[in-house]
Amino acid sequence: MFNLSDYLPIVLMFIVAIGFAAGNVLLSQLVGQHKATRTKTMPYECGKDPVGNAHERFSVKFYLIAMIFILFDIELIFLIPWAVVFKSFATAGRDLGTLIYVEMMLFVALLLVGYVYIIRKGLFDWGERARLEAEAEGRALAETEARRRAMQAATTARAA
């Protein structure tokens, strides 16, 4: 017996997921500044040069990020079965709602602690040099932009 309405939640989930992704892209397009640097205009390859020697050594950071990602991913998946059975435990007969809720909050708190820890440990800090490079690039960009503006202004002035 196939009942389409049974699958409504799935459809809802798809919509929310697509909406979240699209919404984020749109939002950043609308709100963010737009400075097209050379790096940014490159094709997206997870931060690697798309063209170059295949034997190049990766930074270990990639693996770390990947690992952390999977870790958090898997841990978060744990939330789903919890959510599924939560209600049946929280019913009057068992009355374990508070306990189970607190336990899950603890779990999330632990995740948070882990997250704070990796931030403090500098996992997302891609290094002084990278930061300096990016800053230098930004400055250079700003200069060329300024020069372009100035030239533009000059040409318009000349035109005028």
Partner: protein, 537 residues
């Protein structure tokens, strides 16, 4: 759709009291982690102090639980956690090992400029893992504990990032450890399958699947014991038990699953080696003994036929006997030809696992009244081994200096009279490892061997004693090298830092105390009631 709800969900019997030691230590681990993250490197003393405080609090909780271990309410969390003297005594061993490791590593961390906080965090989590292995009454719980322990230990083995030997050690340990974990997991799965029995499904809705009957196994140790004889797939049970034995055999480094040990122990930083040889090995024994003694107990033969349970018991006991003999012999014989102290001690640790296995065999053969004595003897042996081994490694750490440079036996030539404190304590530990009377090692051997004799394992004891005789050669050899050989290398007597001095004092006192007054300890380790399978839930 109905399938997932077919097994009735029972409310978990929540009991934080029973889990208190583990909880305290986990919280400590998290706190240490945060302190490390927020204070930076300058605070390495803070994390060490915190760790020690946490370990002390855990020890307090363990001792607090001790009186109730004999009581009635000893299972909780759906039968996953158990409280009995075996768990608590093992827990105490782990805590002692962890605390001594913190002290030993203090100087090492300083020499090498390593992140102390991380090390302490890993150590604490490894200890939690070990404790879960001892307290788990469920194969899944035990596996979880084992993995918590293993992953932390893999990292610790490779903790000296810039040293190739350390990297090698870590990687080898990781690869082979995963290999053995797979065996263990496979064993658990097989046992689960083998113990499957029929569960009549509760029809969710009237109609469709009302007559459907599903099969469900169990991973609960007590439940396995109940089903040994009436499981649906007996051959699978044997395969599962074999796999479990392989997995645990790897953890306790019994021959022929010991091959990883020498390389890993030699390459790992010395304090980590000390920890690995004492802690995880004991944890392996805790889980190994619980699973095999309680899940596959001796079942009396009914009539002429030997039941599946009896056959299984025969199988693992026989296999264990062989493992014990192999382990003792391989460990001692290969230790003879070693030229590196850490490697020699690694083989010695293999040999000691063999001696402890002798006690395990005795426990396996004993009836429930004597089993508790045999188990207590094994725990005592492991405690004694932990103390003397950590002491020996503490000295080795100090002599090795930063970078583990001086670990060859040649480096010990003639240091005896230049560093009398160090070489005399090391000699004491070596003598204890050898099993000279009045030391802890002697008492441990006496207890284990006497239990085996009591169960009629004459030949096992004979082989054990012969092995002890073999071990005289290399233990005394090192002492001879220290005191009666001319020094050929440059040697400057190291200053003994306070933390290490504390370790040495504690371990020396422990070796002598356990050697002279073992009664109190062994009595505390013994269960008043037999570890009874009859008290199953």
């Amino acid at each position: 759709m109905n399938l997932s709800f077919a097994i009735p969900l029972s409310a978990p019997d929540v009991n934080f009291r029973l889990l208190l030691p583990e909880l305290i230590l986990s919280v400590t681990g998290v706190v240490v982690m945060l302190v490390d993250a927020f204070t930076g490197r300058s605070q390495r003393r803070a994390t060490a102090t915190l760790s020690l405080a946490g370990l002390a609090a855990t020890a307090w909780a363990t001792l607090w639980l001790w009186p109730s271990a004999q009581g009635a309410d000893t299972r909780a969390w759906g039968g996953m956690i158990v409280l009995d003297p075996m768990r608590l005594s093992f827990t105490l061993v782990f805590l002692i090992v962890a605390a001594l490791t913190v002290l030993i590593s203090a100087i090492w961390v300083e020499w090498e400029g390593l992140p102390a906080g991380e090390f302490h965090t890993l150590l604490l989590f490894a200890t939690v893992g070990m404790m879960l292995m001892a307290s788990g009454n469920d194969l899944v719980m035990i596996f979880l504990g084992l993995e918590i322990l293993s992953i932390a230990t893999y990292v610790m083995a490779g903790f000296r990032k810039n040293d190739l030997r350390s990297n090698e050690s870590s990687l080898k340990y990781f690869i082979l450890g995963s290999f053995s974990s797979a065996f263990l997991l496979y064993g658990i799965a097989l046992v689960y399958g083998a113990t499957a029995h029929e569960v009549s499904a509760q029809p969710q809705a009237s109609g469709a699947l009302a007559q459907h009957v599903i099969l469900a196994g169990t991973t609960n140790i007590s439940a396995i014991a109940e089903r040994v004889n009436d499981g649906l797939y007996p051959p699978l049970l044997f395969a599962g038990a074999a796999m479990l034995m392989i997995g645990f055999g790897f953890k306790i480094a019994s021959a022929p699953f010991h091959v990883w040990t020498p390389d890993v122990y030699e390459g790992a930083p010395t304090p980590v080696t000390a920890f690995m040889a004492a802690g995880p090995k004991a944890a392996g024994f805790a889980a190994f003994m619980r699973v095999f003694l309680l899940a596959f107990p001796f079942v009396a033969a009914s009539g002429q036929m030997r039941s599946t349970g009896a056959q299984l018991h025969d199988a693992w006991l026989g296999a264990l006997w062989i493992l014990a003999v192999l382990t003792m012999t391989v460990g001692n014989v290969v230790a003879l030809v070693q030229t590196n102290v850490k490697r020699m001690l690694a083989y010695s640790s293999i040999a000691h696992a063999g001696y402890a296995l002798v006690g395990f065999v005795a426990a396996g053969a004993a009836d429930s009244a004597h089993q508790t004595d045999a188990v207590a003897a094994v725990v005592f042996y492991l405690l004694a081994y932990a103390v003397m081994n950590l002491g020996a490694f503490a000295v080795v750490t100090l002599i090795a200096r930063s970078g583990d440079r001086r670990t060859d036996i040649e480096d010990y030539r003639g240091i005896g009279f230049d560093s009398p404190a160090l070489s005399l304590t090391l000699s004491l530990f070596l003598l204890s490892l050898l099993g000279v009377p009045l030391t802890a090692g002697f008492m441990g051997k006496v207890m284990v061997f006497s239990q085996a004799l009591g169960e009629g394992y004459k030949w096992l004891v004979v082989i054990g004693v012969l092995n002890t005789a073999i071990s005289v050669y290399y233990y005394l050899g090192l002492i001879v090298v220290m005191f009666f050989r001319e020094r050929t290398t440059e040697w400057r007597a190291p200053r003994i830092p306070t933390t290490l001095a504390v370790v040495l004092v504690l371990t020396v006192a422990g070796v002598i105390y356990l050697g002279l007054f073992p009664g109190r300890v062994i009595n505390a380790f013994r269960a008043v009631q037999p570890i009874a399978v009859s008290s199953l839930r």
